[in-house]
């Protein structure tokens, strides 16, 4: 059952810059846009690109991610030949080792790849929001006769130093690659999406593994080394919505982009975003509800005011509560007269009646956190913020706050 191209999805990172949001789950499993999780976008891309075999490399708190992926049915990846496989680190005869870097993670799973005998291997990361037809990128790769093709996107030059930056010639060939350069020479940022010829990748992984000084990372080691060896590296330009949701602020912004720009195109009938839906009834808006400019999904009960917000399944918003510019995750409860402003409330949390989140910027300096920038307040999962409690902006709450007596 040889496959032309299989995908390897790097989903092992903790995503520690997401603060308390990744306390219990790996970053790709973080909720997004009311009913999705971050990984849905990449798995959906695979499904629509006709890539039916995907290895998902996990190691950080994979339980929820594994359960969420399940048989892969939700992304049409429960295939007879192929499908989705979760690949944790494992023990060999003598010992086991954790994934050291992105390249090492693939290296440790060469045997998995071999069983499909693929021509090409697509390497993806599980923490970006975008829609991309990998089949077209593969056509380009084949057309260019490349050893590796790297997808890139043009970014504002002032942000370029956060990325791996490509310099490409008129033919699309990469002539220079710099991982997070201080002085970027172009605005072509690597999206962390690679197509390799498998035979070549195999060689490079073995070579990289043997190099004691390597940190076994694609961007830092393998790609620069291949460039040095004179291999054929090509850049594949992508234009369209693409967002790295690595920080609390960028995750918030990407959610708000859904509401404001619609650029990601949730309504594209030919490119439905697949996700694993919970089984809940439609939501109910009661007599006092007012909901505008918002996404609301199943199982919610709303009797309060919701403006410009994203409401996940099973959320209860009581009478006279006011939620604005916020992201409320699964099964949160917002009590009567509570106010939630520009906040992310992680799943299962209760904001008790009269509590105020994110309105007074000077309040609660003790919760201020470097994770939260741009005036965003982040409340962790399964917490209770007591009656009448106030939490200020740029704060991150990681444990219950009791009402003041």
């Amino acid at each position: 059952m040889a496959k032309e191209c299989i995908a390897m999805l790097l989903a092992g990172g903790q995503g520690s810059r997401l603060g308390v949001l990744t306390k219990g789950v790996a970053k790709p499993a973080v909720q997004f846009g009311a009913k999705y999780r971050i990984i849905d976008f990449v798995l959906t891309n695979c499904a629509h690109s006709g890539i039916d075999t995907v290895g998902v490399l996990t190691q950080y708190k994979p339980l929820l991610l594994n359960t969420y992926i399940g048989s892969g049915k939700s992304w049409d990846l429960d295939r007879l030949n192929g499908g989705v496989y979760v690949l944790p680190p494992y023990m060999q005869e003598t010992s086991g080792e954790w994934y050291k870097g992105t390249a090492n993670a693939i290296y440790q799973n060469m045997e998995f790849i071999e069983q499909f005998d693929p021509e090409y291997v697509l390497v993806l990361s599980g923490d970006h929001i975008y829609k991309m037809n990998y089949a077209k990128m593969l056509d380009y790769h084949i057309d260019k006769n490349a050893d590796v093709t790297i997808a890139y996107i043009n970014v504002p030059i002032k942000e370029a130093s956060r990325f791996g930056i490509l310099q490409i010639d008129g033919e699309g060939k990469i002539i220079e690659f710099n991982e997070k350069p201080k002085v970027p020479k172009s605005d072509c940022a690597s999206m962390g999406i690679y197509i390799f010829n498998w035979r070549e990748l195999r060689k490079q992984l073995i070579r990289d593994e043997a190099d004691q000084s390597s940190s076994n990372d694609f961007g830092k080691n393998v790609i620069p080394s291949m460039l040095g060896q004179g291999k054929a590296l090509y850049g594949y330009g992508f234009s369209g919505y693409w967002k790295d949701v690595g920080t609390v602020e960028s995750l918030y912004d990407a959610n708000m982009d859904l509401l404001d720009s619609g650029e990601i195109g949730l309504y594209d009938a030919d490119w439905q975003i697949f996700s694993r839906s919970p089984l809940r009834p439609p939501h109910f808006l009661d007599r006092n509800a007012s909901v505008t400019d918002s996404y609301v999904t199943e199982g919610c009960y709303i009797d309060g005011k919701v403006a410009h917000s994203i409401i996940s399944d099973g959320v209860v918003i009581a009478k006279n509560a006011a939620v604005k510019d916020s992201i409320i995750m699964t099964d949160c409860k917002i009590g009567e007269n509570a106010v939630v402003n520009k906040a992310i409330i992680a799943s299962g949390t209760v904001i008790a009646r009269g509590a105020t989140i994110g309105t007074n910027c000077d309040a609660t300096p003790q919760y201020r956190s470097n994770y939260c920038t741009g005036g965003i307040t982040l409340i962790g999962e399964n917490l209770t913020i007591g009656e009448g409690v106030e939490v200020g902006c740029n704060c991150m709450v990681t444990s219950d706050i009791k009402e003041e007596k």
């Binding site: 846009g33 089984l279 009834p281 609301v296 919701v306």
Partner: protein, 370 residues
């Protein structure tokens, strides 16, 4: 409840449902924003631990087939038993259907399936009931009373809904008689019964041979003294859907929190086919109250006292009151609707007015553009 098999009569075709069941069986009727009628009884059986369930079908069960698929979403894609859709049987010589109109004929046609099961008890159920319950206690009752047939009844039930009539139930719970006395407080059949499997086979064969096709009269009524036939009272919420009024009435009852909670906010879930849908989107001009809204809707108008199925669009300036709008319904700008039932894919143009009273809802058939 592993020792019971389920038979659901999903072949009913209610002419009183008019256009709504023209191309689908009643059991496949869309209800409650994202479900089909069959989901309730099917889920109740699954939640009772019944894993061998057969559906008798008759005409036009394509939408039922599409909805149920291999049964996976009801946890009925099992190695042993599972969900069986039982199409009508034809004698090939003369191409005449044997499936007929009655429960007894339907049962006769699926005797091969009933015989194959190894369960001692058989639960017979109507496919048009809205209910979320489990049948464990009823089976215990059946066993403790050494009952041959146990019929579930309710005193609250909507009398017109009862398909198997009313009963005189004695103090010891035995059914004394079939009663013509269809009053408010009568014991009305809810449409579910438990019967010993071997007995069912015998009774069906003997009734069929003699051309006796009325379940209530010929199986219950004629055997009241010969067999131990008991009534089991059910006090919870249930509704039968059998005509447009009962469909509309139930849909409006969903706006009561108690009804929603009983059916859906329950440890026992109502399973249904899952579709990928964007969350519901409320635009700047949305004004929605007292309404049940499914995913995929895009609302920029006013919606009150209504049930909106998946992917319904209500544009700016339109006002929807007391309506049921099924999947992919579209109401363009500045239209006014009151007491309208829109089947799937109906489009109401801009500036239209369709107003009736809840006692007499307007029904618009599938795919119509108005």
């Amino acid at each position: 409840m592993l020792n019971t098999m389920g038979i659901i009569f999903a072949g009913n075709e209610e002419l009183r449902m008019g256009e709504l069941t023209r191309a689908r069986s009643l059991a496949a009727m869309p209800v409650a924003g994202r479900y089909r009628l069959i989901d309730f009884i099917l889920s109740s059986m699954v939640n009772s631990g019944i894993t061998n369930i057969g559906l008798t079908t008759k005409f036009n069960f394509q939408s039922l087939l599409d909805h149920l698929g291999g049964g996976t979403e009801w946890d009925l894609s099992r190695k042993k038993y599972g969900l069986f859709i039982l199409p009508p049987f034809y004698k090939s010589e003369n191409r005449i259907t044997e499936s007929g109109e009655s429960k007894i004929q339907s049962l006769y046609n699926v005797l091969h399936y009933i015989r194959r099961g190894k369960q001692d008890y058989c639960m017979l159920a109507e496919g048009n009931a809205v209910i979320n319950t489990t049948f464990d206690e009823m089976l215990d009752f059946h066993r403790e009373n050494h009952s041959d047939i146990t019929v579930m009844y309710s005193k609250n039930a909507d009398a017109t809904a009862s398909q198997d009539g009313c009963f005189d139930v004695a103090a010891d719970n035995r059914i004394k008689d079939i009663s013509p006395n269809n009053t408010q407080n009568a014991a009305k059949s809810v449409g579910f019964c438990i019967i010993d499997t071997d007995l069912l086979i015998t009774l069906v064969e003997s009734c069929y041979a003699r051309g006796e096709y009325d379940f209530s009269k010929d199986i219950i009524g004629k055997n009241l003294t010969k067999l131990r036939i008991f009534g089991y009272e059910f006090n919870g919420y249930y509704r039968h859907i059998y005509d447009i009024q009962s469909y509309y009435r139930f849909s409006m009852e969903l706006l009561n929190r108690d009804v929603r909670d009983t059916l859906f906010e329950n440890e026992k879930k109502i399973y249904t086919k899952i579709k990928d849908m964007v969350p519901a989107r409320y635009q700047s001009n949305a004004k929605v109250s007292n309404s049940f809204i499914a995913d995929g809707c895009i609302i920029d108008g006013e919606v009150n006292n209504s049930v909106l199925f998946r992917a319904v669009e209500v544009r700016k300036g339109s006002k929807i009151n007391n309506c049921i709008i099924m999947q992919n319904g579209k109401v363009l700008e500045n239209s006014v609707l009151n007491a309208v039932i829109m089947d799937k894919n109906v489009v109401i143009g801009s500036g239209k007015t369709l107003v009736s009273e809840p006692t007499f809802p307007i029904v618009i058939g599938k795919n119509r553009v108005i």
